[in-house]
């Protein structure tokens, strides 16, 4: 312990400049960030500065991490410390202590201060804070430390980082080129859940190996294997997720929470561009349908779709599970257009035949678990279990040719702590005319609704700021004739209905005698006519 503290104090004394810089940037970030929030929004200058500071905070960590680890660098054979009585575990712990003291602790304090500033009690969000710290460690600090551990100087470390960045860009560009044009992958939670711990494990292993053995090529080999391991894990996760769909979303036997009616497709022509080879393009197919039957107190969400296509000659094709457009249904009849993507090769095989399409939707039946009604205030107000909100007072002094008084509320903006809120249906009423002097909206007003949040939220989402925008894009914000404005009047009730998943299931609809649309490909444009 004595040696740990001795090394730690030496580093703290030696790198006081870097520490000061990092703390100053973190402090500036804490000061500026609240000005980005709707309740405090002052000017775009703060927005820019906050945006820069969001980048500068990890940059300061990069410098601090590199300086402290390279002070007793692990690569080379001329370092002073390798022939001194350094115990590797003490050196490792001293560096860990340094990172904890000058990166994690200030970051944790900054997050708590920001949460308090946003009106959230930090002690209520400890699991989320820890989760966010874990992600910041795994995504930023640990990779930086691992690269520091296998490089001999700051310049080399910077070059490697640059190389990795360029590698990512090249990979992203290649992925875009080879990606199918219209396949929306389903949310692949397992990929992150598998890849994140794997990456943390590999980075940690490389660092510990280096401290314990100083076998540079062994540690480098471990790190070089990471992209291949992640690729394998992602493949496995994608395959596993597809395979797990039938378990997570069992086929409904009786009493489906919604009924679906297939409607005749309207004639239309759509033209979109695509990237990659024309022989690998996918054709987006959609179907007009009506949904009914959602019970009171529930909502139904479409999570994924898959299609089983059968031709008269008995040949078949089945798609993977694909994203289903994210429809959210409340009680009442709602038209919607689910669809899926079909590879051009399959399309060419089936295009002249009448097909039987079995469309299977993976849905979540969500139950309203909490309803909170809050009167719209002229300043910040709290929406319990949702976040803290503030009235929006326009985009400038002039809008639509009319002077917009700041007292005219044109919407609400909200922030949540650490992650987007639990899926919530927000509803209120707009007024077309000026607000009455007394509280409350003029009767009857125009309904404005919005879905905000996620049905399966994580304790925290990765980010430097713990305060997350929860955009409330209320419908009917603008009158249909585009003249005048709609306002929210102070005192207007805003209803926040929170939903949690109750059941997940598959429901199936058959479409008989379906003819594939006409498709023409010219250059990188695909035109679909039906």
């Amino acid at each position: 312990m004595k040696q740990i503290l001795h090394i730690f104090l030496k580093d703290a004394r030696h790198f006081w400049g870097e520490i000061f810089l990092s703390l100053a940037i973190t402090a500036a970030f804490v000061c500026v960030t609240p000005h980005r929030w709707p309740a405090n929004f002052v000017a775009h200058g703060y927005l820019d500065l906050a945006g820069i500071l969001v980048v500068l905070v990890p940059v300061s960590w990069w410098i601090l991490t590199a300086r402290v680890i390279l002070a007793e660098r692990l690569v080379g054979d001329t370092q002073f410390w390798i022939t001194r009585p350094y115990v590797w575990s003490n050196l490792f712990m001293a560096k860990l202590l340094f990172l904890a003291a000058f990166i994690y602790l200030p970051f944790c304090i900054a997050q708590c201060v920001l949460l308090s500033e946003a009106g959230f009690a930090p002690q209520s969000y400890l699991p989320g804070l820890l989760y966010d710290q874990m992600m910041v460690a795994g995504i930023i600090v640990l990779p930086l430390a691992a690269i520091d551990a296998i490089t001999s100087s700051f310049a080399r470390m910077t070059l490697i980082l640059l190389g990795i960045y360029l590698g990512f860009l090249a990979f992203a560009a290649l992925s875009m080129l080879s990606a199918s044009a219209h396949v929306d992958p389903i949310d692949n939670h397992l990929t992150f859940r598998l890849c994140f711990p794997l990456a943390v494990l590999v980075f940690s292993a490389a660092i510990v190996l280096q401290y314990a053995l100083r076998r540079v090529w062994l540690a480098r080999g471990v790190l070089i294997s990471l992209p291949f391991l992640l690729w394998a894990a992602a493949l496995f996760a994608a395959h596993y997720d597809q395979a797990q769909f039938n378990r997570i979303y069992p086929a409904v036997k009786a009493g489906a929470p919604i009924q679906i009616t297939v409607l005749p497709n309207l004639r239309s022509t759509e033209s979109t561009s695509f990237q990659g080879s024309p022989s690998e393009v996918t054709i987006p197919l959609s179907f007009s349908m009506d949904e009914t039957g959602v019970a009171e107190g529930y909502a139904v969400l479409t999570d994924a779709v898959r299609a089983d296509v059968t031709a008269p000659d008995g040949s078949k094709w089945s798609s993977d599970w694909q994203a289903a457009g994210g429809y959210k249904f409340l009680p009442g009849e709602v038209p919607f257009s689910p669809g899926f993507a079909m590879p051009i090769a399959v399309y060419n095989k089936f295009k002249s035949m009448p097909l039987t399409v079995q469309l299977t939707l993976a849905i979540t039946q969500a139950q309203a678990v909490r309803v909170n009604t809050v009167a719209l205030a002229t300043r910040t107000f709290s929406a319990p279990e949702f976040g803290n909100c503030a009235p929006e007072t326009g985009w400038g002094p002039e809008f639509g040719g009319r002077v917009l008084e700041l007292s005219h509320i044109t919407g609400i903006s909200c922030v949540a702590a650490l992650s987007e809120p639990q899926l919530t249906f927000v509803s209120t009423h707009w007024t077309n005319g000026p607000c009455p002097a007394s509280a409350g909206a003029p009767d009857p007003g125009v309904l404005g609704t919005a879905w905000v949040g996620s049905i399966d939220r994580e304790p925290a989402q990765f980010g430097i700021s713990p305060v997350v925008d929860a955009a409330v894009n209320l419908s009917n914000r603008y009158p249909s004739n585009q003249t005048g404005l709609r306002y929210l009047c102070p005192g207007t009730p805003i209803v926040f209905t929170q939903y949690k998943p109750a059941h997940r299931m598959q429901i199936t609809t058959n479409i008989e005698g379906y003819h594939l649309p006409q498709v023409s490909i010219e250059g990188n444009r695909i035109t679909i006519s039906q």
């Binding site: 001329t78 022939t83 350094y86």
Partner: protein
């Protein structure tokens, strides 16, 4: 005899290059062992193997009774290591460095530290990065001697230093000699001759010999024989004769196996010799002749001759 360093068939290869070739070495406790050899002979690699900075491909080494591959952490409490290439914590002052290192060594002698600071005239408040090469070396010496290590390993410690600094360092080193074993590498023979007790010679990664300095000095003689008549060189000369050559009536060679009987044996071999002169050699002369012999593939002749060889 207690051995402070012992190696057995220690070998280190870098790709196809054999930097250290099957070296078996024994350094007695309390000795001042000088490892000499030309640049690139493998001296630094051998020292790095001893210090566990590099790992051997085959063979093993024991330093202070510890397998060199396990030489880490507290084992360095008893070892002082100074190298011409070693980095120092350049952002620290000399005083800061000594303060920092002090806490690592239970046996750190503060009085000795102060004595070394005075002796080397170290500027305590100056940062290491602002020091001259000689001053850095002196600071490194002070930080490696102040805890009275049982073994001091020095890799080319005097290389590129001016004579004054060199003498100061040697003086500091000799003062510590009674209580420690010193193992140093150098290619400057004159400087080590004065204080080394043992010497080993490395040539292209191979240890040509390793013995006490006095033994070495005693067995090498610069021999000049003046003959009555010019005579050609015989084909079967003793293996211990290096660089034999004749000019007119004069036969000249270096005898690497000289002993008390050698003058009599020479007189018997050359009965018509008018004069036989056997002059002692300096270390520099010895190594020059060894190096020249090695170039002429006479490497095997420089080892101490066995009794069988002598008889032959």
């Amino acid at each position: 005899m207690n051995l402070t360093i012992r190696t057995e068939n220690l070998t280190k290869r870098f790709g196809r290059t054999v930097a250290v070739d099957s070296i078996s070495l024994a350094v007695p406790e309390g000795s001042i062992y000088a490892l000499v050899g030309a640049n690139g002979a493998g001296k630094t690699t051998l020292i790095k193997l001893l210090m566990n900075i590099l790992r051997p491909n085959t063979g093993q080494a024991q330093v202070l009774g510890i397998d060199s591959a396990k030489l880490t952490g507290h084992a360095f409490n008893r070892i002082g290591y100074v190298s011409e290439n070693q980095e120092l914590p350049s952002g620290m002052t000399v005083g800061g460095m000594l303060d920092y290192f002090r806490a690592f060594y239970p046996s750190w002698d503060h009085a000795l530290e102060q004595q070394l600071v005075r002796q080397f005239d170290l500027p305590l408040k100056r940062k290491l990065k602002h020091l001259s090469r000689g001053m850095k070396m002196k600071a490194s010496f002070a930080s490696s001697l102040a805890y009275r290590p049982s073994l001091i390993i020095l890799d080319e410690p005097f290389s590129g230093l001016d004579p004054l600094v060199r003498d100061e360092l040697i003086e500091g080193l000799i003062e510590r000699a009674p209580e420690t074993t010193i193992f140093l590498s150098s290619h400057d023979l004159a400087e080590i001759e004065s204080f080394s007790s043992h010497v080993g010679y490395l040539q292209q990664g191979r240890l040509l010999f390793s013995e006490e300095m006095t033994t070495l000095a005693n067995r090498f003689r610069d021999v000049t024989i003046t003959l009555s008549n010019p005579a050609p060189l015989h084909a079967n000369l003793p293996a211990s004769w290096l660089e034999p050559q004749t000019v007119d009536c004069v036969l000249h060679f270096v005898d690497s196996g000289f002993n008390d009987d050698s003058p009599r044996e020479l007189a018997g071999r050359f009965p018509s010799a008018r004069d036989i002169a056997c002059e002692p050699m300096t270390l520099r002369q010895i190594f020059l002749s060894i190096a020249k012999a090695a170039r002429g593939s006479q490497i095997s002749r420089v080892n101490k001759p066995s009794s069988q060889e002598k008889e032959a």
